[in-house]
Structure formats: C-alpha cells, structure tokens
C-alpha cells in the first residue's frame, strides 16, 4: 500500500515541509523589522535547526510503514525513560530499571505483533512484576518511592507512548499519526503564542510559571479547529468524520497535550532542574520536546477504538 493512499497523508506531509521552508523567511522578515534581538535570533535558529531534524525523524518512519513507526516510537519510549531515570536517580536501581525496560520492550513487541490481548495484559502484569521485584530486594526503606517511580516510568513511557505506536496497526494509521503529531506540536506553539497575546492569569504558577489560562484556552480553540478541519479528510467515510467527533477529538488532544506538558514540568520543578536533558539543542531533552504526546495517545486511541476500532481489518498475531 502506498504511503500516500489517503490524500490527507500527502497533504500533512506537504504542509509540514512548507512550514519548515517558510520559517527562515519569517525569521528574516522579523529580523528586518528589528523584532529579533541577537540572543532571540540565536535561540530561534537553534530551535529551527532542531526541528529540521525532528520533523523528518517523526514523519519519515510513519511514511515508511508500521514496522518503522513502531520502532521509532519504541526508541522514543526508551530514550524518554532513560532521561527520566537519570534525572530522578532511579537508574541506580539496576534491577527495577531493567524490569521497566523489559516492560517497555514487551509493550512494543506486542504492538509489533499486533496482539491487542497481550498489549492490554502487559500493564497489569508488569505493574505486578515491578511491585514484586522491589520486594525481592529486601529493602523496605524507600520501597514505596522505588515502586512508585518504576510504575510512573513504565506507565508514561511504556503504556502511554505505546498507545501512540499502536495506531500504526490501523490501515488509516499513517494519516492519523501525522495528524496527531502535527496538532500536538502546533498545540505547543499556539499555547505559547496565545499566551503572549492574551495571557494574564497564570495557569499553574508553581508548576510552570510561563503558562497562562489565555494560552491554554487559545490553544484549545485553535488546535481543535485545525484538528477538525484536517480530521475531516483523515476520517472521511467513517463515523468519526462527524463534526461532533472531530471537535471532541481535537479538544481531547489539546487538553491532554497540555496536561502532558504540565506533568513533565511538575517532575522538573520537583527535582529542581530546568531541562530533562541536553539531547535537542534549543529544546532541552527528548522529554522537553515530546512531553505533550504522553497522554494524547491513550486518550485518542480509546476514543477512536470505541467508535470505529483500530486495526480491526488487519492481520493479527504476526509473530507469536
């Protein structure tokens, strides 16, 4: 099946390419208007160059097909967990950390196999395994902290990001994933821009001082609109093409996207750090860039799954 069977796939890909091509022109115009200080210019270009790498890394695996998509999300999960484990110090507990990694690998093996039963069983199995493994260490002091961190890591980076990868098993997986990735990233940008224009009341000043109600609501309205507009092509011919569903999904995406951002901000404030890592110049760590994806996956997966199903017409149990 061609990568561009659904015209929405081609449309989103071209739109992203155009966005990347236009951005330096916008920077040049702002520069001419004297709106960019040297520091801001340097920061914007650092971010832009990072986007030049990030966007192909996100889009190309999706276009290449289900295997590459699942592999890319698997790597993203492992790198995100690594960042989390290193900033919390949890990586020092080798046994529990290895168990979390095993859990993430099993999640992605289940996804690659298109075995939903195993995928659905793994959260309860691995949470139990983590709780039991921690007991085996015979170290009651700090037991709850260790288990909580292990389950937190597995839930966010194994289960939640796993739901994103599972979309690859659907015949319509490419455009759905591209739509989600595009809207999640736009949601971040729109929240920032709306916050600059309309932001007065702080949303969660102790957690993320830069976020405002104006930014959050502006992003909610605009992202929902964009999602609904592009979504009508992505979900054409299905029950989800109805405006009520498109608007609900768009709102869910924007809401859960912003919550993901706040959750990682909360982790950073608790640890007293600014960034989760240094992997992406201008952005920080992998989690600083992809935090908004965390809860979007499960929310949209179960919404779409409830109304039209995911991958129902595709072969299952491919390997095991």
């Amino acid at each position: 099946m061609s990568a561009f069977t659904n015209p929405a796939t081609a449309g989103i890909t071209v739109f992203l390419a155009a966005l990347l091509a236009i951005t330096p022109v916008v920077f040049a115009i702002l520069q001419r208007m004297g709106r960019l200080t040297p520091t801001l210019r340097k920061e914007l270009y650092a971010r832009y160059f990072s986007w030049l790498v990030i966007v192909p890394l996100m889009v190309v695996p999706v276009l290449l097909g289900r295997f590459w998509t699942i592999a890319a999300f698997g790597l993203l999960s492992l790198f995100a967990y690594r960042e989390f484990a290193r900033v919390t110090g949890f990586f020092r507990n080798r046994l529990l950390s290895a168990t979390v990694v095993l859990g993430i690998l099993c999640m992605f093996a289940a996804i690659a196999d298109h075995w939903y039963g195993f995928f659905a069983a793994l959260p309860s199995l691995f949470i139990s395994l983590l709780v039991i493994t921690a007991v085996m260490q015979d170290q009651p002091k700090g037991y709850l902290q260790r288990v909580a961190l292990a389950i937190f890591g597995f839930a966010l980076f194994g289960i939640c990001l796993g739901h994103m990868a599972y979309f690859a098993n659907d015949a319509n997986g490419r455009p759905i994933l591209l739509l989600i990735l595009l809207c999640v990233e736009l949601n971040d940008v729109l929240a920032f821009c709306c916050g600059k224009f309309f932001g007065r009341r702080k949303l969660a000043p102790a957690t993320s001082p830069g976020k405002t109600w104006g930014g959050a609501l502006g992003a909610l309205v605009l992202t929902t609109t964009i999602f609904a507009f592009i979504g009508q092509f992505v979900f054409a011919g299905t029950l989800l093409a109805a405006p009520i569903h498109l608007l609900t999904m768009g709102a869910l995406l924007s809401f859960t996207g912003q919550l993901g951002d706040l959750v990682i901000s909360s982790v950073k404030r608790d640890l007293g750090i600014k960034d989760m890592g240094t992997t992406i110049p201008g952005h920080g760590g992998i989690l600083d860039r992809f935090d908004s994806l965390l809860f979007v996956g499960p929310a949209l997966f179960h919404y779409i799954g409830y109304f039209v199903g995911i991958g129902l017409d595709q072969p299952v149990r491919l390997f095991f």
Partner: protein, 239 residues
C-alpha cells in the same frame, strides 16, 4: 545495598561527549551492559590467549570503596586488572586512564567510557580540583579505582617510582588500597608493540592497607606513594 536516593546522575545536564569525559560519570543500563560484555570478552581472550591467572583475590575487600594500584608496562594492564576483579565488583571499577591518550577524540572517549568504564586523568593539565573530585567520589560513593601510579607505561619493563597523586586520593582516609603486580604484560605487549603475543600473564593481589593517619599534604602523599611502591615491588619480587 544503599537506600534509593532522589538524586540526578552526576553527569546529568552534560552533552554526551562531555559525559564521557566527566569524572562524575555514572553508567546507565546500556553502558553497564556494554561494559559487562567487554569484560566477558576480554576475560575469555586473556584466559585463552595469555593463560591469565589471578592470585590473592582473597585480599580484595568485599565491597567498595577501595583502590587497586599496580605496575604499568602495557595497554593490557588495565584490561587484566579489571578482569582480575570478581564479576560482581567489575561494574563499580573505574580504571583511571590517561586523558590525552584515551579521551582526546570523541570516538576514543566513547570507547573508554562505555566499554572500559575509565575515568580520565589529564597528565599535563590535571589540577587539584580533579583530584579532589576523584577523592570525594571515592569516599562518598561506591567506586573502585584501578590506578597505575607510575603515571605512564614502562618502556623497559622495570618499575618506575610512584607519583604522589595516589596520596591525594587516599591520605587521611580509611579507604583500603590493594597493591597488585602484573607479570607478563610487558612480554605480551610492550609499549611499542602493535599486537599482543600469546605469552602468559599473572595478576597477584597483596594485602590492603589504609592510611587514616597519613597527613593529607605533600609529605604525606610522598610517604604513602613510597609505601605502596614497596608493596607492589615486593609482590613483583615474589612473583
């Protein structure tokens, strides 16, 4: 086992190339797996190619922190010393390697950090701050340092005087220092050789010593280095 600590990795916030060169580097799972695989591979190689044998393992402390000091005449030394430790301790062992040899380029730094688990010692620009960092890490942490106090490989196989740097790490502390003598590494692969020869290598550990009463100053460091040099030399004489 220590209680779990809510504390970021010592090298958190650094770029990968800086992490590899950091004295605060802490190995994660991928590095631990790579280092374990490297140790298994080199242990097999040393046994098969050099009939490697270890004597005096009973002298090694059961748990870190401790320091192993040995004579140095070959690139095989650090490998043999790391493999000579019991497998459960290898993960905590950091060979202190010459920064200008092993950490100069990104590729060699990555290899030295990920596979050898080495920490850099910059011979020409090693300040007291670096020694202080190593000392703190040793006292606070779970580290085992594998050290060659001669500072460089012997060009003729004979042992040179120990430098006082070892004293800066352990003087005035209860950290045990284990003397070790590597016999056969020079014959197997002297500094000018490109490839090793299949000659036997023996590693001999001696009784550990701690130096809580040695003053942490220039005189104390010198005194401590001389004591350890004699211990290593004695092991070599009895080999």
């Amino acid at each position: 086992m220590k209680d779990w600590e809510y504390k970021p990795a010592g090298d958190a916030g650094l770029r990968p190339a800086d992490q590899w060169r950091s004295l605060q580097r802490e190995a994660g799972l991928p590095s631990a797996v790579a280092h374990g695989a490297w140790c298994a591979l080199t242990a097999g190689y040393l046994r098969a190619f050099h009939r490697f044998c270890v004597e005096g393992r009973e002298y090694l402390p059961a748990n870190p922190p401790f320091v192993v000091v040995a004579n140095h005449s070959s690139h095989l030394d650090a490998i043999a010393l790391a493999v000579g430790l019991p497998p459960r301790l290898r993960d905590r062992a950091f060979p202190i390697a010459a920064g200008d040899t092993f950490f100069e380029t990104k590729a060699t730094a990555a290899f030295a950090a990920i596979f050898l688990n080495a920490l850099p010692m910059w011979r020409k620009k090693c300040g007291s701050h670096a020694m202080e960092t190593l000392r703190e890490r040793l006292i606070e942490g779970n580290a085992i340092y594998l050290l060659f106090p001669e500072g460089t490989r012997s060009r003729d196989g004979s042992m040179a005087d120990f430098r006082a740097g070892i004293g800066m790490l352990v003087a005035g502390t209860n950290v045990p220092v284990v003397p070790a003598y590597l016999d056969g590494c020079f014959a197997a692969m002297p500094p000018k050789a490109r490839l090793p020869k299949p000659s036997p290598i023996t590693l001999k550990f001696g009784a550990p010593k701690a130096f809580p009463d040695v003053t942490n100053d220039r005189a104390g460091w010198r005194e401590l280095a001389e004591i350890l040099q004699k211990d290593v030399h004695a092991l070599g004489s009895s080999a």
